[in-house]
């Protein structure tokens, strides 16, 4: 008897190589780990200030202002 004989688990594991999966595609478990890894990285990263460019203009002078440049 080995330890493995006693460890039956209490949920079904996803198959290591799902049927139809491309050979180089990450498994769902790997993809999830990668997403978690990226999420943790993003928690520590950031630019100096937010950025958006909505119109041709670089300046917004309010709802009634002109967008001169």
């Amino acid at each position: 008897m080995t330890v493995n004989d006693y460890l039956k688990g209490n949920y079904d594991l996803a198959p290591a190589n799902p049927v139809g999966a491309k050979k180089d595609a990450p498994s769902p478990a790997t993809a999830s780990l990668e997403e978690e890894f990226e999420r943790q990285a993003l928690q520590k990263l950031g630019g100096s200030i937010a950025f958006i460019k909505k119109s041709k203009s670089f300046i917004w002078k309010g709802p009634s202002g002109d967008h001169a440049r």
Binding site: E38, L42, G46, G47, S48, A50, F51, K54, F58, W60
Partner: protein
């Protein structure tokens, strides 16, 4: 397939908005007592077409463009970013403008000389950065030197200052005699229901300006969109790390080493500079800034000359030129 660095860069817009918007609005509220002029007051400023933006990238200290600038009869505008102000003043150049935007609570005031340096939290940011090597050589003495230089020349410098900056930056610039010209960063879509941009505009009535995500890009935008320059030269505008940079001297080194471990190499993108053939590295933040800049340069009503002699900022719409040639071509003309 996208790289890890590209995937992280693609998310930085939303991440940066989340991290800076509320702090920016709060600082805008604290800065209200100092609002007298805005960038709208600069739009009819001195006539002329040429400007030089002195950003704070490592090429500034590799190629020393200030020597060429000092020996030229350049009569256009000289615009420094906060991180290059000390470099300019130490080398005998008082810029016409300095631009500042980052809302960090205590790091940015160091670029102007921090009166509260002794009581700041322990921070190796400046020692690790290649932005201005002077800052990691005897930091206390350099801070004292910068305090004196900014106090001596502040009255000749106009500060293009974002409302989101920490009030310590505002107080420092004000105390040094700088005229403050305010702008709100354009944070997000002003037509959105819960727009931060609109909220801060309603708070202070100050025009909002596209940022480019960082101070160097904001300075370039101010040069053409506010000051009306049609030809803008960039120096020290690298958005990357030069070859041979120790990892310890990159932003987020500690955090990223802990997280990435053996995968740290995936964190950087490589760019071969067309003029020098050198390979520069961009972390996700620089990668994001670079993508933004390449987009904006297509829409800008100015010619853009990158005279940095290095970095990652090259592509359609950007003329790579050595700085001496720019000065020679545009010398003497406003």
């Amino acid at each position: 397939m996208t790289t890890l660095a590209e995937r992280l860069a693609a998310r930085l817009g939303e991440i940066t908005l989340a991290k800076t918007a509320e702090l920016g609005v709060e600082n805008a509220r604290k800065n209200l007592p100092y609002l007298k002029r805005t960038i709208a007051d600069l739009e009819t400023d001195a006539p002329g077409d040429n400007a030089i933006v002195i950003a704070a990238g490592p090429s500034l200290h590799r190629s020393h463009p200030i020597e060429a600038l000092k020996s030229a009869d350049f009569r256009g505008l000289v615009i420094a970013v906060d991180g290059s102000l000390g470099y300019c003043l130490r080398n005998g150049v008082v810029p016409d403008y300095v631009v500042t935007v980052d809302p960090h609570p205590y790091r940015i005031v160091r670029w102007f000389g921090d009166p509260d340096f002794a009581t700041r939290p322990a921070d190796d940011y400046f020692r690790r950065q290649d932005l201005d090597p002077a800052h990691w050589k005897d930091e206390e003495r350099r801070n004292e030197e910068l305090l004196e230089l900014v106090d001596r020349h502040g009255a000749r410098i106009r500060c293009v200052i974002a409302t989101c900056v920490d009030p310590s930056v505002t107080r420092r610039c004000h105390a040094a005699g700088m005229e403050l010209y305010w702008w709100n960063p354009l944070y997000d879509d002003y037509d959105a229901a819960d727009s931060v941009s609109r909220r801060v505009f309603e708070l202070n009535g100050v025009p909002c300006m596209v940022t480019g995500g960082n101070c160097g890009s904001a300075a370039w935008i101010a040069a053409h969109a506010v000051l009306g320059r049609r030809r803008v030269a960039l120096v020290g505008f690298d958005l990357g790390y030069p070859p041979g940079t120790p990892l310890q001297r990159t932003q987020y080194y500690v955090e990223m080493t802990q997280l990435f471990g053996d995968r740290l190499g995936e964190y950087f993108s490589e760019f071969e500079h067309p003029q020098t053939g050198e390979t520069w590295h961009a972390d996700p933040a620089y990668h994001w800034y670079r993508q933004i800049f390449l987009q904006l340069v297509q829409e800008a009503p100015c010619e853009t000359f990158n005279c940095s002699q290095g970095g990652t900022v090259f592509g359609p719409g950007i003329t790579l030129l050595d700085f001496a040639s720019f000065l020679k071509t545009h010398d003497g003309r406003r």
